[in-house]
């Protein structure tokens, strides 16, 4: 059937229409129109009940109120730092899976690395909370070993948020790295070694250029997920988390200030999109290829 290139013309049209309808309905009713609506919402100001004028007031508020743009910059910087940390932690593991281990063992390690990510982020965060809070496992252990005199609070620090973000995003880095490293021919590494290349120079001149598409894909996806994360920063960072998605939630749901919330949403979207664009430009890749890779 849906070989829409054969059969009489009317039948082809009907078939094409039937196939197009769900796609267009999905993309326009749930993605395109809501995003346009959000943009319109962010550019208006309420002057009286049910009366609005076009204005930039929401964006002015963002720049005039230091709290808002501080949180914005903080979210971006911490997401960037956590993305780099994820890359550094995931690379040796991906290398081991792709190059050091063979056959079943390599497949086994890969599966073992994936398992935690089948479990909900809520559950994983609960685990970190039980481990890190003042009455939790690690502070008790540290006090018991005499490293600290009394149990210390390990939750609610910036470092805690970073650990949580890295933990929750590892999968999205390991998978693209493994697939890009697996396609690297071992004989290239051997040749470089025979020609006197050191470990570092081989890594810099052979491995990283070859794995660049995987590295970019992983970094883009991980950065995006961190920027948009809500659960991990709010639970592990507590009141001091100051994550931008939390500001969006506060404006939209708590204060019911949809115009302000929409403007914040747009700023986050702009940051996320520009980072994706920058990453693609720097590595000279196309968007579709990156998304299919992950």
């Amino acid at each position: 059937m849906p070989d829409a290139t054969s059969g009489p013309a009317w039948e082809r049209r009907l078939l094409l229409g039937l196939l197009l309808a769900p796609a267009l309905l999905w993309l326009f009713a749930l993605i395109v129109l809501p995003q346009i609506d959000l943009a319109l919402l962010s550019f208006r100001e309420r002057v009286a009940p049910r009366e609005y004028v076009a204005s930039l007031a929401q964006y002015r508020t963002f720049f005039a109120e230091p709290l808002y743009w501080h949180v914005f910059v903080r979210t971006a910087v911490m997401s960037l730092a956590a993305t780099l940390a994820t890359l550094l932690i995931a690379f040796p593991v991906a290398w081991t899976i792709a190059k050091l281990l063979r056959g079943r063992l390599s497949a086994l390690l890969f599966v073992v690395c994936l398992i935690p990510f089948w479990v909900s982020e809520t559950v994983r965060t609960l685990g970190w909370m039980i481990l890190l809070r003042e009455s939790g496992v690690l502070p008790a252990l540290l006090a018991h070993l005499g490293v600290t005199a009394a149990p210390v609070e390990l939750l609610y620090h910036d470092a805690t948020i970073l650990v949580g973000l890295v933990y929750t995003s590892l999968l999205f880095m390991v998978v693209p790295l493994v697939s890009s490293l697996e396609s690297l021919d071992n004989s290239l590494i051997e040749a470089a070694y025979d020609l006197g290349g050191s470990g570092w120079s081989i890594l810099r001149e052979i491995v990283i250029p070859h794995a660049a598409p995987g590295i970019t894909a992983g970094c883009i996806v991980v950065f995006m997920l961190m920027l948009g994360n809500y659960l991990t920063p709010t639970l592990l960072g507590g009141k001091s988390s100051q994550w931008f998605t939390e500001q969006i939630y506060t404006q939209f749901i708590v204060r019911f200030n949809w115009e302000q919330g929409a403007a914040f949403g747009f700023l986050l979207l702009a940051l996320s999109t520009s980072m994706v664009w920058l990453g693609l430009k720097l590595s000279g890749q196309r968007f579709g290829d990156v998304m299919r890779r992950t």
């Binding site: 999905w26 993605i31 995003q35 190059k99 935690p116 809520t122 994983r124 039980i130 809500y230 996320s272």
Partner: protein, 286 residues
């Protein structure tokens, strides 16, 4: 470096130690959650007070509510289940139609549509949530002003949660099913047509059975992603919270180990789902 090249002892030792540390890092939080589901204490914290099943079965004499007696929690699991079923059915259905559209049909603007289908994957979940919330409310208000009708399903609640999750899970289903349809050998269909089969018969007996593994795989992924979704759901949820939202609320308040019990239940369920899928994959490869 790679095994065919000499690797000094220190490097091999360091690699092994690193791997062990990495695996501990991966599994420590999960193991902790599981262990404290059985601790005989009112809070999930050390020290160990002995083994108990109270957090599953409940213990009225000690004023403990276990998972199977916690109606609120059970109701939220049921809600999550219903939402996940709806999202899965919608996503696989639309994903399959999209696969045929992108792989078989020719029409103007196809390239643009194909790029647009990837957009939901780069929109942060929170933004998907608020944009759908705002748009649905605008439509509801518009209908209300115009016809005096109150469209309840456009207000925060489960229908919107389903739509919100579907909006990006459909993109994943589309990618998975399209990838398999792309590898389909069209001569199989041609042979069936030559033998006199109708379009419907070819679809039913050749093409769909070929697509079935991709459809089952994307159904499992869709179910899991829906069950675990938090960001989009948080913005669209109404009076009956799904499990992740319920757990989040309780975690902020400092909950009893009943949350560990429900987490352990989730871990076992996802592990079973993963194992079933992998066995299926393994059999197909063999």
């Amino acid at each position: 470096m790679i095994p065919s090249l000499p690797r000094p002892l220190w490097l091999r030792t360091a690699t092994t130690l690193y791997l062990v540390a990495f695996l501990v890092f991966l599994f420590l939080p999960l193991a902790t959650v599981a262990v404290f589901a059985f601790n005989d204490a009112p809070y999930p914290a050390p020290p160990w007070h002995g083994f108990t099943l109270d957090w599953f079965l409940g213990n009225a004499s000690r004023d403990r509510t276990g998972l199977f007696g916690d109606d609120e929690l059970l109701a939220s699991i049921w809600t999550s289940f219903l939402v996940a079923c709806a999202v899965t059915a919608l996503s696989v259905g639309v994903g399959t139609a999209n696969a045929f559209l992108m792989e078989r049909a020719r029409f103007p603007g196809k390239g643009a549509l194909s790029a647009l289908m990837l957009v939901p994957l780069v929109l942060p979940g929170v933004i998907l949530g608020i944009s759908i919330l705002a748009f649905a409310s605008r439509i509801a208000e518009f209908v209300n002003d115009l016809f005096g009708l109150e469209l309840e399903f456009l207000r925060p609640g489960l229908p919107l949660v389903v739509l919100g999750q579907f909006s990006y899970i459909a993109a994943i289903a589309t990618l998975t099913i399209s990838a398999r349809l792309k590898r389909f050998d069209p001569t199989l269909e041609e042979a069936a047509y030559n033998l006199g089969a109708s379009r419907g018969a070819v679809l039913r007996t050749i093409t769909l059975p070929y697509l079935r593994p991709a459809m089952i795989g994307s159904a499992a992924i869709a179910f899991l992603m829906s069950f675990e979704n938090f960001n989009t759901t948080l913005m669209l949820v109404g009076a009956d919270p799904p499990l992740t939202i319920m757990m989040y609320g309780r975690m902020r308040e400092g909950a009893t180990p009943v949350l560990n019990a429900v987490s352990l239940f989730l871990m076992v369920a996802s592990a079973l789902l993963a194992l079933t899928l992998m066995r299926k994959d393994g059999r197909r490869a063999a």
